[in-house]
């Protein structure tokens, strides 16, 4: 594989039951392309957490996944409320999710920490009132 392959998705912000469809599609595509299994698993988990966050917190957003010869690059962009304190948001167990989200099995304050944990490189930029952009990279073996 010599050229980068790009997959793009729009995540709806009003249908939590559909959250995860993009991540599942990315996983399926990467597996079909014969990408290293462990890298696919790490990328899929990180992306799934991000997709859930887009649906829960941001009113939806855009996902762009680029597969290069040596890396899976995942970009998540939203125009949601932004994160006032990123270091606080990155700490395990801290969450602003409402009870209804917790009743669905999320909002335990593990989303961003899990995304960082499963990425080889993780970067988050956020401006209150403007939105949040997260870039995650997973290296291929």
């Amino acid at each position: 594989m010599s050229e980068a392959i790009t997959l793009r998705y729009t995540v709806p912000g009003d249908d939590f039951t559909r959250a995860g469809e993009a991540s599942a599609d990315v996983k399926r595509n990467l597996k079909r392309m014969g990408v290293d299994r462990e890298a696919v698993r790490k990328a899929a988990i990180a992306l799934y957490e991000g997709e859930i966050n887009l649906a829960i917190h941001a009113g939806g957003g855009e996902i762009t996944v680029t597969l290069t010869p040596d890396t899976i690059v995942m970009l998540l962009e939203d125009h949601g409320p932004g994160i006032p304190d990123i270091s606080l948001a990155m700490s395990e167990g801290w969450s602003t999710a409402p009870d209804e989200v917790r009743s669905l099995g999320f909002g335990a304050g593990m989303g961003l920490p899990n995304m960082k944990k499963y990425s080889d490189r993780f970067d988050i930029q956020s401006t209150v009132g403007v939105g949040t952009t997260i870039r995650m990279e997973v290296d291929l073996a």
Partner: protein, 117 residues
């Protein structure tokens, strides 16, 4: 431990009739919080949960899990079962509580996984 043994140990009912019950399960995780499940890593695991929504299947799929056990007699809807069947994930339901179900599987030798990536 094979899925068939989990079925027997929990007195469970299989909800995905075409599932392969001879698949080996190497570890288990019991939780209603899917983010906690996603923080846990192990191939070919079984997820025990009382949560009943499509994200349970999506989470199991992301974690390459092969079996979901719904505790406390919960029975997921057809849409959830179809989602699981399409991913070759066996779905069981047991009347046992989470604590009892986890204890029974632990007694049979199944263990939790690692939190390392």
């Amino acid at each position: 431990m094979k899925i068939r043994e989990i079925l027997d140990a929990l007195g469970a009912r299989l909800l995905t009739p075409d599932a392969d019950l001879e698949v080996d399960v190497h570890a288990a995780c019991g939780s209603d919080m899917m983010s906690d499940v996603l923080a846990y890593v192990k191939d070919q695991g079984v997820l025990l949960t009382g949560l009943n929504n499509p994200q349970v299947v999506r989470t199991a799929d992301m974690m390459d899990m092969v079996c979901i056990v719904f505790v406390r007699g919960k029975v997921p809807g057809e849409g959830i079962l179809e989602l699981a069947a399409a991913r070759d994930i066996a779905v069981l339901t047991t009347e046992k509580t989470m604590f009892s179900a986890c204890g029974l599987l632990y007694e049979k030798g199944l263990r939790g996984g690692t939190s390392h990536v």
